[in-house]
Amino acid sequence: MDWNIGIRILSSILSESAPLVFAVIGETLTEKAGVINLSLDGSILLSAMIAFAVASLSGSLAAGFLCAMAVGGLIALIVVVGSIELRQDQVSIGFILTLVTTDLSSFLGNPFVRVPGPAVPPLPIPYLKEIPVLGPVLFNHNIVTYGSFVLIGLGWFWLFRTRPGLEVQAVGEHPAAAFARGMDVRRLRYAYTLVGGALVGIAGAGYSLNVKLGWSYQHTLGIGWIALAIVIFGGWNPLRAAMGTFLFGALQSMAGLFQGILPGVPMQAFQVAPFMLMIVVLVLVSSDLLDRFLGLLPEAVGRSLRGVIQVTPPSALGKPFERG
């Protein structure tokens, strides 16, 4: 294959994965604190729609992104108030919110269907983009994609290399112990859920204003569920979750290539492929099927592979905490 084609494919995988990276890392942060925001699919839809509407009407992309963040944050606020203050089931609230926000996006977005609108402009970084191979792959994007790169590094560093990161892990793993050590469990859960929600909002805007321009009925349907699955695949680690997102993007673009090469395979097979992949991957990371297979390998190899593939969720994920 021609070098340039390979570079172009890599570069487009990175830019098209950017919104999903925002959603995945946002939800990873939320879940690290022990809260599940299940509403991702609807949150992304509604924030994408609002971002497009605001940016089109006001002519300001920044306003579009800000409103999308507000929408994502507001939905997250309902999840966190409902579960922490009112002690209702997080999964139920998230599911209801998914349906409401999906329908809201259809209702309010009706006048904006297939209307042309603004797009985030490209922003190649001078000098850096001249570096052979790395330059066009990493530094010839726009601000959304650069933002996703920064977020990956920042998310990882924050969670695993700083004191507040350590605290949020404690809150997600063992809230009672964290509370006893003087941490404000409730405040931390509020903060991480809201920040996570705002990042999910950016993901929505990243679709309608960047990689899937415009608005149509149920514009991004399904992508939120993929994001939730990638959080699990990523083992609640931003770095690994980002790798999962890029892997997903790579498989998507490979599917696009195959679709051209293999006309005999029905189109629908490619449409459902992401969701089949989701199930297969979840079986791999959570069942003991893999365990049995790894048992056949030499022990050292098996153990290290297991460490790479298997994941464990934060122990207190989705569980209410009484005293906070």
Binding site: G82, Q88, V91, Q268, F275, M278, I279, V283
Partner: protein, 345 residues
């Protein structure tokens, strides 16, 4: 005196969240530049304006009730059967398959296709069960993946092997022959078979959940799976049974959509009723006798909101906004009330 207080409390529990949901929906309408009063008037007329409209509401009520009854089993067992939507779709596929396969008189063909829809739905739910129990994949992800697969399968069949002679279109497969259409009450979209099946499902669910050892076991498993296991209950088998019952009922709901309403397989054959039934059951809990009336209200909202695009050029998804806002505010209000009670103590 106490009775009155309880009753007043109940009313408050319903009326306050309902007004809150109406208020929210009205704000949404105002934001879209429409008059809420005009919109609600249209919705009321769309649901109850004529004999035909009443019948249409019941046509939506039947699949909602069937899915709701199915979900009563899985929710009681502590399972989040989000795959109910796909189970309904598979039911429609199962029914269509028999209609295409067999040349039989009506009195044999209809039972055969309804049976096939039951089996298809139940088998589809067992896939989610296998993924849940042996693959340790949460049923929400397993179910959702299978829902998308079911939609893909429907589209594949409509545009592939089952396409209409000539050209494949979004309008679905060929119309079923008349012996494969459920009978109707003169001129209405509603028939006796659907109503009968819904009634049977309500009865069966009420008896199984409230009057049998099986219901008790499901309840124990749903409340504390580990304790139920220690008591010697066979968890896996009971979960599979609950899923199969849910899938079977949802399958019949899908079969009825194909045999009684659309008379063919169409891309959105389930009309989202599976997800909607989850909302119904989140509102009522697994209390069978509440599911039926609440499902009726939801059916009326769906049919009523279909009037919005016709009369006011608004999207019919407003109905979903109202339903979701209602369930959410009931839930939050419930939490608020128990919090206030606790603080009083």
């Amino acid at each position: 005196m106490r009775m009155e207080k309880v009753l007043a409390n109940r009313l408050l529990q319903l009326l306050l969240p309902f007004s809150l949901a109406l208020l929210f929906t009205s704000l949404v309408l105002l934001w879209a530049g429409a008059s809420p009063i005009e919109a609600y008037g249209n919705m009321l007329r769309g649901a109850f304006g004529s004999r035909e409209k009443w019948a249409d509401v019941l046509v939506a009520w039947v699949p909602l009730v069937l899915c709701g009854m199915g979900l009563a089993f899985t929710f009681t067992a502590g399972l989040w059967n989000i795959g109910i939507e796909g189970q309904m779709i598979l039911g429609a596929i199962g029914a269509t398959w028999v209609v295409r396969l067999l040349q039989l008189p009506s009195y044999l063909l209809l039972p055969a296709s309804i049976l096939s829809s039951l089996l298809a739905g139940a088998l589809w739910s067992l896939v989610a069960g296998i993924l849940r129990i042996y693959g340790k994949v949460h049923e929400i992800f397993a179910g959702l993946g299978l829902n998308f697969l079911a939609i893909g399968l429907t589209n594949y069949l409509i545009f592939g092997p089952w396409k209409q002679p000539g050209t494949a279109t979004m309008s679905g497969t060929e119309v079923f022959p008349s012996q494969a259409q459920l009978p109707n009450f003169g001129g209405l979209a509603l028939g006796p078979v659907e109503i009968g099946i819904a009634g049977m499902a309500i009865g069966l669910t009420a008896i199984l959940l409230r009057g049998t050892l099986f219901g008790l076991k499901l309840n124990a498993i749903g409340r504390n799976r580990h304790a139920a296991f220690l008591m010697g209950l066979r968890i896996d088998r009971n979960l599979f049974t609950a899923l199969a019952l849910a899938g079977g009922m949802a399958g019949i709901a899908g079969g009825i959509q194909a045999l009684g309403l659309f008379h063919r397989l169409i891309p959105s054959i389930s009309s989202g009723y599976g997800y909607l039934a989850i909302l119904v059951v989140l509102l009522t809990g697994s209390r069978v006798l509440w599911i039926a009336p609440v499902a009726f209200f939801f059916a009326a909202v769906i049919k009523g909101s279909l009037q919005l695009p016709i009369e006011m050029h608004l999207d019919s998804s407003l109905g979903g906004v109202l339903q979701g806002a209602l369930v959410l505010s009931v839930m939050l209000f419930r939490g608020l009330q128990s919090r206030m009670l606790k603080e009083k103590e």
